[in-house]
Amino acid sequence: MSAEGGELERTLGFVEAMTLGGGTMIGAGIFILPGIAAETAGPASSVSYAIAGFVALLAALSLSELATGMPIAGGSYHYVNRALGGLFGAVVGWGMWTGLMFASAFYMIGFGQYLVEPLPFLDGRAVIVGIGLVGLALLLGVNYYGTEESSAFQNVTIGTETAIILVFVAVGLFFIDPGNLEPFAPFGAGGVVATTGIVFISFLGFEIIATVAGEIKNPSRIIPLSMILSVVLVTILYVLVMLVSTGVIPFESLGESPIPVSDVAVVYLGPLGVIAIVFAAIIAAISSSNSSILAASRVIYAMGRDGIVTDWLNASHPRFYTPHRAIAATGGVTALLILAGLGVETIIALLAEAASFSFLVSYSLVQVSLVVFRRADPDDYDPSFALPWPVYPVVPILGVLLSLLVVSQMATVVVVIGSGIVAFGVVWYAVYARGRVVSEGLLREAIRGEPAEPFRVVVPVANPGTQRGLLRLAAASAHANEDRGTPELVAVNVTPVAHPSPLQNVEADRADHQRDLLENAHDIATEMDVTLRTRAVVAPDVGEAILDVIEDEAADEVILGWDGTLDWDGHVFGTTVDPVVRDAPCDVSLVDLRTETVGTPVALVAPGPNAPVVAHQAVEFATVDGTVPTLLNVQSPRSESDADAEARGQAVVTDAAEAAGLDPDEYDVRVVVDDDVGRAVVEATGQYDTVCVGLSGRPGGSGIRFGTVTERVVHDSPGNVALIRGS
């Protein structure tokens, strides 16, 4: 069994990812926007598509790196939220969700236009809007009831639609009249850039690949490949479609048509061509709108996961298991947007541009997030697809500049709507999300860079019930060693996965753990004023994984939780703990937290190499509750007087304390003389809240030496027990 009750299968392969991404892009954008684009940029609209494709490619490159570093649901929203924190997360999350709804409404109105225009007995805006609403209702119904993976059917329909477009382009190239392409740019560069803002929505598909990153097989290969390839291929296709369209029909008459591609096709493919194009346009609109609804539910899921929106939206249907509330909310707003088409003449351009605005803003923030991830370099961010120098930093810089350039040329009304959505995100964060969001983002780390010479304590955490206490102990230890370096805690959680496979989504497990860790880390960090980093690891063997982290972090100390049982089933403490206690190259404290408080610790000091470490550890633990620890030594009287034995015990303790560099006022000394050492130890230590006992150092062999006295303490002490092993 893997952690957290079950594995998550990754089921989308390369073809499915391309179908989802490319299929969305070869959607309504190609069938409807050529008319509007020709109107505002003339034949140079092909250049607008090329620029939009280039901006999309910059975003796809950065998203690819981020997605292979964190292949988990949510797309751009998730990366921005992690890098820049909840405020920007809320802005991008709401922006993406509304952007997807704008896009969905845009596709469905296009769907209406392609159904209404060719049929002579239908006309009028109301009919178009009505048909769009009917189409949307059907889609929502299907999505509400849920579909099992029928990727084969989707692949066939998207394949057919793509083939029709390819025929349209291939044949159309021979019918281009160069005269139509003159003047190439009647509206100048301004018109070209303004058009870019409208057509950018056509490249939405690669983002949809990123939103389902948690379900893509072999993510480190397929995510970058499908995102980048689909953007490049679709850009080439769009440029050709635009050249053909404006080359076959003068752009002025193209601009007047609500179904431009079909009007072009009739010139050289005849009525059959028109039927094929109308068929393709309808398939395209439905599949693109469907993908947008799918992506929207992933974005809402991710926002709910991070506390940006209420998880109520994410409740899944008791029978169909679909996120029905998220789908209904998305569908409801989309329906309102389609209805707006009744009153707004230029609804298509408006919806397209508003969606483009949202995504351009999101991509600017994605580019910034990439820089933040590179600078802060969190441990769990290890992308398999990393942009090489000089592609990074050129891509993020160009990406931000070009996005802003395109946004600056947009219609005023769109900028107002888009800024309104951004403002809504900010207000939403301030009013709803701020108290609920746990992730702070990496911005501070990115700006601050690496701290100097830390004193690092590694704390493996698995059990939410004990991790708080462990982290408090670790923070105290780190603080007590401030003279040796800046205190820093590293909380590690290992997700055990028996057979790590690229077909499993283990990152989602990591995210869940990470959230628990972060919540606690926040409290601890503020309480103890200590820096804390978290590391989430997926590995088949927990113990080995912890050792790797200790080595990797060059840890000075490790504090391990343990349930206090000694199973002699071939292990001393258990399969996870044993290798760490045996092989960790630093001080190890094995702690069994049996009570809420650390209180007054007692250290059992016996002569030996471990004694100074045990004494020092007791002093460190005492700082949690500000107590003074007792260093205890038990002597058996042998043949001498009690006083001699007492003196011998005193000497043992003082030697150990001196070796540990402790001041005499930092501890109390207690010596007990008794024939039965074991019983005396249990009795004496029973009066304290926390007992620190040394474990034998590492003898030549590989075993863990474990004395009978220690065993009795573990069994009979009512307080917390810490077993200490020096390095």
């Binding site: 594995e7 299968e9 989308l12 379900e215 992933r298 298991y321 989602a508």
Partner: protein, 235 residues
């Protein structure tokens, strides 16, 4: 060449169903290793993690209940959009020889083994031998020849298969064979299976058309009332 009978079978079942599957057949198979896979079908509309957040503990409890009742060598819980892909992956990871589909059976005494040809034959016979060596069943090998083909070819195939089982150490009198001529193998198998307690089928690599429309094997399995053991075709 006597086989040692270390048979590992994968038993997938749907944990989103409140009703646990009828797995009595497992008690009758003798000493086989069982890998229990509880899968939770996730619609395309939902992110698998979303359903795990909501139903994870419930599903795990159901899986544990079945595992406790039957005993299993390993148990897995997976949230997936695609049941088949998950079954394939887990079967690979745990090196399973065959996959069991649930059905109604009261004790396994008679096993039907339809053979299609040389496809996957060695593995099917290996699994049948392991089954027979681990338990007390008898097996009937079945082959259907098309109308325009000489039936003696089918006889040769069946007799060769019987000999192979005997080589593996199975008693001769626990194995017999039947040959059908003409007719539709699918419906023949489905009709014949009613007289048996378990069917052992070979996995087939679906053609493109089958991928889109559905596979032959699924058709047979759906028509069966009794449990089926599907022998995996792995190189």
């Amino acid at each position: 060449m006597v086989r040692t009978g270390d048979l590992t079978i994968l038993v997938p079942f749907d944990v989103s169903d409140a009703e646990p599957p009828a797995l009595d057949v497992l008690d009758d198979l003798g000493a086989v290793e069982v890998v229990l896979l509880g899968y939770f079908p996730v619609p395309d509309q939902a992110e698998p993690a979303l359903l795990r957040d909501q139903y994870g503990s419930e599903a795990a409890a159901r899986l544990d209940a079945v595992a406790d009742e039957r005993g299993a060598h390993a148990e897995m819980l997976v949230f997936t959009h695609d049941r088949e892909a998950t079954i394939d992956r887990i079967a690979d990871e745990y090196d399973c020889d065959a996959v069991l589909t649930a059905g109604n059976s009261a004790g396994v005494e008679r096993v039907l083994v339809p053979l299609r040809g040389d496809v996957n034959l060695d593995r099917i016979l290996g699994v049948v031998a392991d089954l027979l060596l681990a338990g007390e069943e008898t097996a009937t090998l079945f082959h259907s020849v098309p109308e325009d083909v000489d039936p003696s070819q089918g006889e040769l195939l069946l007799m060769g298969a019987v000999d192979r089982l005997v080589e593996y150490g199975v008693d001769r009198d626990r194995v017999d064979w039947r040959l059908a001529e003409g007719g539709d193998p699918q419906s023949d198998i489905a009709d014949l299976a009613a007289e048996y307690d378990l069917v052992v089928l070979g996995e087939t690599e679906p053609s493109l058309a089958e991928r889109i429309i559905g596979t032959v094997l699924v058709g047979i399995v759906d028509a069966l009332e009794v449990p089926a053991l599907i022998v995996r075709d792995v190189e």
